[in-house]
Symmetry: C2
């Protein structure tokens, strides 16, 4: 028998579970970031940029945003803390968070990860303190997803011992670059390294782009990306280089060095592998974006749930007053599954941040297998969290009706500001494809590359092991799975082991299907490798999505297991049921097609989901209060007026008391 | 054998089919609305309002926006033309469309539909010409969906022969009112009519709110709703009335009159029925919003499809250049089903506009059954079209990557401006519930009202007839359905009759299920009518959605049948297949649960959908060109630069030609 989530919850206990190990970082932000840092509604683009730049200078760096850097440069050697700081800033102002992310994450992070001692000593202190602002100039107008194909060139000349950085045509200009249009003095510029007439793939240089007065340096053309859907406070711009001379030592040369005479050397021979190793060091950006998206989702849900707890509409025939929005099944069907998914992703993110912290926090090099796993997890969760944010914030805005369309109620800004998250720091579809291909690693190792999908036959066995690798509480999950009693139809749909088995089955079977189809495709279309892969692209994306779902559920299950407080644990367990069952319900077509659910059991799941909604209805407010967002950070007029406006309506409504009950 | 859609399409023929009977209205807008009328990116709210107000004065009314009014007041007695004009304006600028809709649709429409001769003679000419701007002041802060419960009062005093209009508390203020914050001189104000101490339900008055200089009149407080997610050019405001005196003859008294002595009379006795009759006359607003949402969706799809036809990313292993986005299966899976749904909804909207035109265009009163049918259709299609717009424009913005986030590429504006459509002119969830309850009309007639869902037992038989009533090409649909040969599993999934049967089955079975559950609920929970209904609310919404899907497919089928050109007809038929099969695929869980699909057949559908994507890939551009949106109206930088930027990249890319193929 499942424990019902009806007990009294000690909110502090719930908040402790969600706050996790970086609780000091969270609380420092909650305590110190006051109303001054919150969004201003109705600003012009210039006003927003000016304000955010000012706030960036005022932001107490010691709160955590720069904590990934070594202590000797002003950091705390705590990459996990910097991600948590991003999450907190995302609940304050998303422009501030993105601009901070560009400065201390992308720009500073690239100097640290791709540069060597001389770059660190010369620049990191000023970067950490915020006295030097910089850009991360990778994306070009013509190449955003496939950054290995960047067209900007940087050619070494041994005569002058300098590089020549050049933008060959308009499509090669750097585009959407944060900090470029207004504030950046330096940029980490990615370009094709050419020396002695040979290409060595994409590398990065640290390039000054503005002088002390803020004017572009000679040869540098700076444009403005102009008005955007949101993030008005971030100065995205465009950079072009007309044969700009870059000193040899400005190459960030941790992964590739050019000697005075132009000789190229690198610890990694293969250009492609070297480039992806370089990119891999920047994984923190993706984890931060996923976390920020989740944080904004929590703000939106808090607003919508609290509004739905005071807003009434339509009289009940059997009650003296109108019905609270949250009492409608349709409203619960919108808010509660989204809330459950937010909880699930919270635990997956927490687990990822801990893993990344363990990997990057120490001095030892990370082994490649673990690094790959981390990158795949970061990519998949970034996609899942940002899409969940886009859908959920949209739903929350609709759940607040016309009020949700007004800037003063926060939701329009949350929606517009987070919207770009689904396509920046890696387009979500491309990221999921990366995850899907990663699951075929067994095949890649066999054939050297996944480019030629159809070049040879595949061996399926190697896949199993990779797919079923579990990072979270491996033994717990295995125990739950193996404890599922008897035949499927006799097990309660709330049996955790059965739920885990279903998630696992879906991932494994989808992957087997891709392998089979690729093998068949390879046999029939040997000469058309693109077609072989393209024919199964939707299938590969489905595998990746199923993988992320499974990883997320496992993290949630582990999180429940780690919770000591019995009432909080019981509540989380029911929320976990709701997450698992709504995912199964959403994919019940697949489960029915593949004999994993009978029609009767499939209908049962819908019934149990509705029962869970009823059971969790009284806990909706508790569940959003668990996010522990400071009251002043919500910055939302319809909540600020609570209970004033709503109670006024009910209490003083002399004229409405005897109105006839309406019918629609 | 289905005819494949590979033949050459004469674009003019396709455009003729889509343009339909109001082609002159469409072409007049296309010809006369030049770049001056297009959105300006990055404006402040004040700038946007000023510009849109100016443009509203410059808008040639004779193009069609005011054509619903009688000729004697400057109209053309053509309500269909005015809806089509809204659709066209929505492709130019959505603020302009909404502001025009407030003026000539809501405000002018209310004066016309709810007023009588003296109001028409005194005001309509100036309203039609645009020399008097007005508001439609219905929604209050506390009541948006349940407008029968408005709290504003208007009390008649026979001594002075005037009304006293009053806002009793803050929740009763009029909120979100277009034209209120800046331009409106008059407002149609909805309030509870009280005379001789008796209430007579909600009525409307024509109330001056500003003097000649634009200052609020005594007793009128005007506020500003402030910055919004979008529609910056529309001056939404808040109105409160402090015992404002309104002359007796300013009551819009078509449906309810107050004599000098205060005696109330009405052609409709029941307050509730009278109010919904009054609301029903305003159905044109919902049809216009649905059409405008569809028009904006077409703009977004045109941009995304055309960008996907020039944008390349990632090299193919077996080709000399990078792959066009539209050649990826995943991209087709995003764009083509959305395009097919847009076509389906286009035909449903066209049919609705014709039906509304036939009903409202003549002088004869509309019979109540037909009026109800029209209102239900308008509600359902408004919900379907506006949600489709929100989802599709979001998807299009993501399909354009970072470029889709820049204002200069139009998509952010399309998204933000249409976002409110899902909750204004009736919240979509509330509208679908209205449709769902309407399908239970048989029961309502039996029991007088649907308020007391559980008051008695139900009779199921009466429902059938109502549900299966078909407005579109009844005999054609019946012929197709009855022509389905043999057993289900032997019929091709592209058999139109089989598809229609599946849509019909889903609607009917869902409705039967609701009836059964309501009956059971009534037996068990006699004393809790709210719970009885609330327990099945999600089911009622599912019935409504299935109904709208069925009506939409039938309209599409009828539209294909009406198409003369064989190549265009073959193309539309395949697009109709894609629509029908993606809807079935999306609901395959339900079909499998209910034995309407076998697992094998369900998988077949996914395979056929993917084949259709491949077949329709070469026609993507044709399908968006069919919308006939003038090139200058697209107003999108990434298209304006086409082919320049893209070709430049390919042609002059001396540096990139020998780059190694990338692997991800």
């Amino acid at each position: 028998m499942p424990v019902h989530a009806s007990g009294h919850i000690d909110l502090t206990r719930l908040q402790e579970v969600l706050d996790g190990p970086w609780v000091e970082v969270r609380n420092a932000h909650r305590d110190q970031l006051d109303a001054r840092f919150l969004p201003v509604y109705g600003e012009t683009g210039d006003q927003a940029r000016e304000r955010i730049t000012r706030l960036l200078h005022e932001l107490p760096v010691e709160l955590g945003i720069a904590s990934a850097f070594p202590t000797e440069y002003g950091g705390r050697a705590d990459p996990g803390g910097s991600i948590v700081a991003c999450e907190m800033l995302a609940q304050v102002d998303l422009s501030l968070m993105v601009k901070a992310g560009v400065q201390w994450g992308l720009f500073g992070g690239a100097v640290y990860a791709l540069g060597t001692r001389r770059h660190h000593d010369a620049y990191l202190r000023d970067i950490v303190s915020g006295s030097t602002f910089g850009c991360f100039a990778m994306t070009e107008t013509g190449h955003g997803s496939d950054v290995q194909q960047l067209r900007t060139t940087c050619v070494y000349d041994p005569q002058t011992q300098t590089f020549d950085l050049h933008t060959p045509h308009e499509a090669a200009r750097k585009d959407y670059i944060g900090n470029a249009a207004r504030d950046g003095r330096l940029a980490v510029v990615f370009a094709q390294l050419i020396s002695g007439g040979r290409r060595h793939g994409v590398h990065a240089w640290l390039v000054p782009i503005r002088d002390e007065r803020g004017d572009p340096l000679p040869g540098v053309t700076i444009g403005d990306a102009g008005p955007k859907a949101g993030l008005l406070g971030v100065d995205n711009g465009r950079l072009s280089f007309d044969h700009v001379t870059v000193p040899r030592d400005m190459l960030l040369d941790r992964y590739g060095q050019v000697a005075e005479d132009g000789t190229y050397s690198s610890p990694i021979d293969n250009d492609s592998r070297r480039f992806f190793t370089m990119l891999g060091t920047l994984v923190r950006g993706r984890v931060s974006v996923g976390g920020a998206a989740a944080a904004a989702t929590k703000s939106a849900l808090t607003i919508a749930v609290r509004y739905g707890d005071v807003r009434r509409q339509f009289p009940a025939p059997d009650a003296g007053r109108e019905v609270l929005l949250n009492d409608y099944l349709a409203h619960q069907r919108k808010l509660l599954p989204a809330l459950a998914t937010t909880y699930a992703l919270h635990f997956a993110q927490a687990e990822l941040v801990s893993a990344l912290s363990a990997a990057q926090g120490g001095d030892e090099p990370v082994d490649e297998h673990r690094q790959r796993e981390l990158e795949s997890r970061a990519a998949g969760l970034k996609a899942a969290q940002t899409w969940h944010a886009t859908r959920t914030i949209q739903m929350c805005r609709e759940a607040c009706g016309g009020a949700g369309y007004l800037a003063e109620n926060r939701l329009p800004g949350l929606k517009a500001d987070t919207d770009v998250f689904t396509t920046f720091e890696g387009d979500n579809t491309v990221l999921l494809q990366l995850v899907g291909k990663g699951l075929l690693t067994g095949y890649r190792d066999e054939f050297g590359s996944l480019d030629g999908w159809g070049r040879a036959s595949f061996v399926a066995e190697q896949v199993r092991e990779m797919v079923l690798e579990r990072t979270a509480a491996r033994s717990l999950i295995e125990r739950l799975v193996s404890a599922v009693p008897g035949r499927d139809d006799e097990v309660a749909v709330t049996d955790r082991g059965w739920q885990l088995t279903l998630f696992e089955d879906r991932e494994r079977h989808l992957l087997d299907g891709v392998v089979r189809r690729l093998r068949n495709g390879a046999a029939r279309k040997k000469d058309r490798p693109f077609d072989i892969f393209n024919d199964v692209q939707d299938h590969v994306l489905a595998v990746a999505a199923a993988h992320v779902d499974r990883v997320t559920l496992e993290a949630f299950v582990a999180g429940v297991e780690d919770t000591d407080d019995p009432a909080v644990r019981a509540l989380l367990s029911r929320v976990c049921d709701l997450y698992a069952l709504t995912v199964i319900e959403a994919h019940r077509g697949w489960f029915l097609e593949h004999g994993r659910l009978t029609p009767v059991r499939s209908k049962t799941i819908t019934g149990v989901v509705n029962s869970l909604l009823k059971e969790l209805r009284p806990q909706m407010r508790t569940l959003v209060d668990g996010f522990a967002i400071p009251e002043r950070w919500l910055h939302c007029a319809i909540l600020a007026e609570e209970p004033g406006r709503q109670e006024t309506m009910a209490a003083h409504d002399a004229t409405g008391a005897d109105l006839p009950a309406g019918s629609v």
